[in-house]
Amino acid sequence: MELPWVLLALAGTGVAADLARLPYVPHVPPMALLGKVTATTFALERPRCVFDGHADASDAVWLAVAFANAAHPPPVPSASGAFRNPQSQAEVPPYKELPTARSYMTLETAAAAYSCSAQSPPVLRVGGDTACREQGRQDPCNGPLPSPGPYRVKFLLMGCRGPKAETLWSEPILLRTALSPSTIDPAPARPGSALVVIASILASLGAVLATAVLGALGAKVWGSLCHQGLGTDTFIRRSYRTHHIPPALPQPLPPGCGCSPPGLCQSAPQSPAPCQRIMEQFGLDGTIKGPPRFNPPATGRDSFN
């Protein structure tokens, strides 16, 4: 006999709590998709198997989108907090009234598309339909979102008599904001290493070459000036050994100079130095210049006479 009471209690609860709160949280798909959030659209993972058990064949699942107003302090209610489920098809807030009503509903789809066995793409794109915005149709319009948001969304299962089930609100979804290209600075941050290497090495090479040429030319000019001074000017610019020969009788040659019998020379050991001096005095040591030939320039004097 408890069964009729149980049925009545169940019927009572069914009438009073006709809106099931499903524990599903809509979210942006976790996989790496470059376009899952753009400036005017975003993507949601398709809820699978969420509405099974609550949906009939004729029911439709809507997506409610509302401004999150996360920045506002608590006394100002957020649009998602102020969102009231429409009780019938006619009360569904359309896309056009998003700026004023701060929320709208879109993406009306048959509940069968969200069932476990449905073969459908794993991602829903919100804001992908640009045609309905211009035409201003009254149908649910999945038009591009006008501002970066942030937005919160939830799925709402609507039957013939009103909403039957709803999911939880999502986390705030912030869309991308594009910068102006005038903020791009095309200049390189610092000079590249190649430029520094080339410029520094080339500058040093050029400086060395210029110094070497100037040095060589300067030495040549210096040498030619010294050469002229020696010929015509009595001003002595470099040390010049004078050969003073006193007017004296020629001395007998010391023993050991040019002596032929070798045995006699060995008793006089002091020979080479005086011989050498006399040979130098008379220029007899062979310093005769031949045809022009190359000499390493040990000093400036040697090469420029």
Partner: protein
């Protein structure tokens, strides 16, 4: 004496060899710079649009420097073999002038290479791609070059398709973000030129769009030209420096 003669002969031989190398390198430099000046395909319209013609100036200088190096190397060989002070002095002075010009060309080319940053191309692309201004022909050139670049190299934008999302652009003014997160050329196209999967391309599903940036495809050929002019010229100058030092040493040792 014999040793000194040997040293002289060795030095003469080295200088002749050095001048031969300079002559050959001069010819090569001329040929390369003619190629750089005349090569106008590839990403060249993008360079022209940046209005930076430094690489052209550097290449023109390189042509004449190369010819001068060839002529001076012949003069140098004759001067070394005949041990003539006058010829070698003329050679050294003219070589210094050529050295200075080539230095200018190298540094100009290196500066130009430095200035071609990704941001430069990014800004140009955002401001000019698909600008649809019928008066400015250069913008059409930029659009056509970018389309060709993206189609052939399977790339998108300078750093990637996110360039079109991170910045507003002339393209964005005429193409809505919802329909064209990035240009159609960034999608993988079939043989007829239409996207294989347009929704996949808009969402950024890998396999249906080109995720690489085009900067490598641009900078590759441009860098090849610039490096050719700058670094080859630098190598020639280093070699010329050694030969010039040897020639000056040789010249200062010649006696009248």
């Amino acid at each position: 004496m014999a040793k000194s003669d040997d040293c002289v002969h060795i030095l003469q031989g080295l200088l002749v060899f050095g001048n031969v190398v300079i002559g050959l390198c001069g010819i090569a430099l001329t040929a390369e710079c003619i190629y750089v000046v005349s090569n106008s395909d590839g990403p060249y319209p993008l360079l022209k649009a940046t209005e930076n013609r430094d690489i052209h100036a550097a290449a023109w200088i390189g042509i004449f420097v190369g010819l001068a190096l060839f002529a001076l190397s012949i003069l140098g060989i004759i001067g070394v073999v005949r041990a003539s002070r006058t010829l070698l002095l003329v050679y050294i002075i003219l070589m210094l002038i050529t050295f200075a010009f080539e230095m200018a060309s190298c540094i100009t080319a290196a500066t130009h290479q430095d200035s071609l940053t990704p941001n430069l191309f990014l800004k140009q692309m955002l401001e000019r791609y698909q600008k649809s201004d019928p008066n400015k022909n250069s913008d059409n050139e930029v659009t056509k070059t970018w389309d060709e670049l993206m189609r052939q190299n399977h790339c998108c934008g300078v750093n990637g398709p996110s360039d079109w999302q991170d910045y507003t652009s002339a393209f964005r003014l005429t193409h809505s973000d919802a329909d064209y997160p990035w240009p159609r050329m960034c999608c993988v196209l079939d043989a007829q030129g239409s996207p294989v999967n347009l929704d996949g391309c808009k969402l950024g599903v890998s396999g249906y769009y080109n995720s690489n940036g085009c900067y490598d495809a641009i900078s590759g050929p441009v860098n090849a030209h610039t490096w050719g002019v700058a670094w080859f010229g630098f190598a020639i100058l280093c070699w010329t420096f050694c030969v010039l030092l040897g020639t000056m040493f040789y010249w200062s040792g010649i006696e009248y």
